[in-house]
Amino acid sequence: MAGLNKSDFKNPVVNWIDTRLPLFTLMNKEYAVFPTPRNFNYLWNFGALASVALVLMIVTGIFLAMNYTPDGSMAFDSVERIMRDVNYGWLLRYAHANGASMFFLVVYVHIFRGLYYGSYKTPRELLWMLGVVILLLMMATAFMGYVLPWGQMSFWGATVITNLFSAFPVVGNAIVTWLWGGFAVGDPTLHRFFSLHYLLPFVIFAVVFLHVIALHITGSNNPLGIDVKSPQDTLPFHPYYTIKDSVGLCVFFLVWSFFIFFEPNFFANPDNYIPANPLQTPSEIVPEWYLLPFYAILRSVPNKLGGVLMMFGSILVLFVIPWLDTSPVRSAKFRPIWRALFWVLVASTIALGFVGAHRPEGWWVVLGRVATTYYFLHFLVLMPIVGKLERPLPLPESISRPVISRGGGPLPGGAPAKPMEKP
């Protein structure tokens, strides 16, 4: 199989390299001429936005790590030093802290986009599952990152979450001691969390790479959820989607910048500006907003082990939905009942977010239990049943048809041939 790549780039240097290491051919194939469904809406921006967020988190994180000290007696002060003394340290830290929120925001939209348009269904099961792996890794990374400034919420959040593992019978307490590196959250915990917080984003990066490879094998889904049937259904990725993603990216940066420069502590919990104090428990221990729904599920179950299992289960269930969904139709656009249920799921998840932010008392408990029940009902019961019973609306013949008929005119000159050309 060995042999030089047949490249025909005009630039001789590029050509020389590409003949031996066909990176340029690869980029051209996967990101320039890559045939992409022509009917994406702006929800298809969010994967690219997530990738950019990941890279920016890694970049800002590396510079923060140059000035951060992972030691219980110095961590809090070293963060303040970054904020005050390091040139543009405040910018680095605010970009990174708000970046976590932006990253989750974007990934949650990305996931719900997948749920709505059935992007998890065959043949994209593995692509979807890699996405769930990314989500799990993101949660672990964000959780450990939040511990690093070593404020009150850092310390007590770490205590509460690591303590969850004590719910497991027999080995529980041993696991917790092992996680802590001692008999309480302390210096060894902070050191290892820093080490892992530095490591995991690179693992995420690797999984995103696989995620994208899988995407380029199956090709993208689209708002109609029907397969690409002919070249008329697609456009080359460049320039059509590079420019459309750029529009989304600009708006994304606008939102992110708004928070960095004008509301940098909007997502922050004031308690985390109080140095960690093992002797004083804050009146309320709440995780960051993006973990609240899971925290709510945890607390909705009266039994500790049950709560822990349900909390992990709420994410693990996502791994099997490609097989739980029995409907042959992907896009909820053609599934009136499922579409309504999708919005009930969104509402339940948001409700769980609110529940997670409140003390488990009174109506919050009831709401938490109702929403938790619906969450699992949605995937485990409704998904298989509705898929069987529902009568989907008629599907369009192809992606290009509805696009063209809506426009009313004939095919624009040259468009059908274009996707196959090199730009």
Partner: protein, 250 residues
């Protein structure tokens, strides 16, 4: 609490966060020079606030993340800052290797009133005054809340049992605070002739503390305005290009 609001934001993204009603006393709404996207620190107020910190609060509260040189940011000259620092002595190691003292430099951190937590508690009836470096960030309600504590003293309502050495404060959670009322009208004499009412003093010292917590705020907002304007333009241009590129498709 904040986080809950954030979720509501998921849908609308840019809705302003509604001020959450405090469980304890109602948050006062003070007109701060530093609020809003173009807000800056009122230099005169911050300087008066520093005077209050120095004359009153620094007897109990440290400001250990701040440096003397930070005072230049509220309009003091380098010479003034040098003199302020030099009026304080800090521990050092002498040439003979023995502990000694030297005058502080602008690059030194503010000197703390107590060497450690135990010394503070011993001097203050067992109570611990928190470090004030980031106090306006470390409380729900921020500057308004701190202002509320400083102006929230009064007689406890009839029937309320106060703990030993505790003071009634309508802002502080639980309404019993170990800090004796730190500010009284005319507690200090302002060099610029401003009348030292209780509200004025509280307003000034909170402005100073807000500055200490966010010394880069003005620069941050200045850059922010440029970044937002730039991105808004870029968004417009990119969108126009997108329309152009896609014009042969629709």
């Amino acid at each position: 609490m904040r986080a809950a609001t954030t979720l509501a934001l998921l849908g609308t993204l840019l809705a302003a966060a509604p001020a959450l009603a405090q469980e304890e006393g109602k948050l006062p709404h003070v007109n701060w020079s530093f609020s809003g996207p173009f807000g800056t620190y009122d230099r005169a107020a911050a300087q008066r606030g520093f005077q209050i910190y120095k004359e009153v609060c620094s007897n109990c509260h440290s400001l250990k993340e701040a440096y003397y040189r930070d005072l230049e940011g509220i309009g003091l000259s380098a010479a003034q800052v040098k003199a302020i620092a030099a009026s304080v002595t800090v521990p050092t190691i002498g040439d003979d290797g023995q502990p000694a003292e030297r005058p502080a430099l602008p690059s030194d951190h503010f000197k703390s009133p107590f060497p450690n937590e135990k010394a503070a508690r011993a001097a203050l009836n067992g109570a611990l005054p928190p470090d004030l470096s980031v106090i306006t960030l470390a409380r729900e309600g921020g500057a308004d809340y701190v202002y509320g504590v400083l102006t929230g003293y009064g007689e406890p309502p009839a029937g309320m049992k106060m703990g030993e050495g505790m003071n009634y404060n309508k802002m502080f959670p639980g309404h019993q605070i170990a800090m004796p009322q730190p500010l009284q009208p005319d507690q200090v004499t302002y060099a610029d002739g401003t009348k030292a009412t209780l509200d004025q003093e509280a307003h000034d010292v909170v402005t100073f503390l807000e500055y200490v917590a966010n010394p880069h705020m003005e620069e941050r907002k200045r850059i922010g305005v440029k970044v937002i304007l730039f991105l808004a333009m870029l968004t417009g241009i990119t969108y126009a290009v997108k329309r152009k590129v896609w014009s042969d498709v629709h």
